[in-house]
Symmetry: C2
């Protein structure tokens, strides 16, 4: 029964080649639909119609709507991880990573929200996506460790307490040798930029007048000192 194979990259048999080709076309249509109408409006029927085939044919390629979305989420993380890695390989520092993140998000806001937006209560990410997020976090941690050390903050402030927590709970950083302070900066990179970016993408700043890019830059700069 031929190896289950499946790596879409190289296809041994012509059947598998055709199969993976159709799969990627389905996903392309899905991305178009998500970009214009959001993930909640993604319709398998509409995709099939666009591809000139009718309804249930798609179930040969994806187990269902959820399965397709899961695949799209995986591809989304993969895309972001690749962008980060390419930037890092190009010599980007933390500011460069912030830039690539913003451009990556602005290029397709709904893709960003598919990864970091409202969660579906029932949904649980498949274990292999956490591997990709770990890859992303590793790049951020590298950039944070390369930054000059920040001024120490008060001995008994909330920052110190959080550092102590991070000193013991650092499994999420893999075996990265960054000090707790760098771990905290990496988390700050994530949460602060996500805060500014997601509110901008969601349109909560429209009509307020100020430049979201400046706010983003200021938030990024805030990581330098703390």
């Amino acid at each position: 029964m031929a190896e289950t194979a499946a790596s879409k990259g190289d296809a041994a048999t012509p059947r598998e080649r055709y199969r993976s080709q159709v799969r990627t076309e389905i996903k392309e249509r899905a991305w178009e639909q998500i970009a214009t109408a959001g993930a909640s409006a993604l319709s398998l029927n509409a995709i099939a119609r666009q591809m000139g085939m009718s309804g249930p044919a798609l179930y040969r390629y994806f187990a269902g709507r959820d399965d397709l979305i899961t695949e799209l989420i995986r591809d989304g993380y993969r895309s972001l991880a690749d962008a980060f890695r390419a930037a890092a390989d190009g010599g980007a520092d933390l500011a460069g990573l912030a830039d690539t993140l913003r451009h990556w998000a602005l290029a397709d806001p709904q893709r960003y929200f598919l990864l970091y937006g409202t969660p579906v209560p029932g949904y649980h990410a498949p274990p292999d996506t956490t591997a990709i997020t770990g890859e992303i976090m590793a790049v951020i941690l590298d950039a944070c460790a390369a930054l000059p050390a920040a001024a120490p903050d008060p001995e008994d402030g909330p920052g110190a307490g959080f550092d102590a927590d991070l000193a013991t709970n650092r499994a999420w950083a893999g075996d990265h040798p960054a000090p707790p302070r760098a771990l905290r900066r990496a988390l700050g990179f994530w949460t602060r930029l996500h805060g500014a970016l997601s509110l901008e993408l969601a349109g909560h700043f429209t009509g307020m007048g100020f430049d979201p890019a400046l706010l983003y830059a200021a938030e990024l700069d805030s990581l330098r000192s703390r």
Copy 2:
């Protein structure tokens, strides 16, 4: 034809009393459904079934699904604004506001995401919700203005550039007399806490080990200095 009235609070005629009573019960069921299955799974039919009446009867009370959701969003903002105002009236400072925000969000994560989560591409908030968000922002601005002034940051840094932008584009703050630095802190309060909170609520921290409350506290503390 009796005044259009409608203020659900006091009902003149028994008909209007009954009507607003049914409306609020519909919204209660809707909130339950949203809390358990998310806003995208909200079903008018299911609500009608739960209330013992069949399908299209709900269209007497709401123009459609979107209209109901819009109403829920309005109520959500109203709820948050009331919580903030109550905290401020109780003498809460910026840290107190952060606490009420976190508890309000943790009490019903899907309600938080309904307001600040993934936006629906077509949807535009009705103008009266911006009035409520302005009310919320006013409370935050008051707390920010009451805080001791932070240390000045570098003359030509991103912070200074953003302050200059805020000095001219401050219409969103209404006629609040806060200096640009306080405006920036208010935006930081919003974006940084939203960043930490939304990622926590979305479950992106689960399995990472550290305590999200400590991260939240550290982010709040970061506003003191910058």
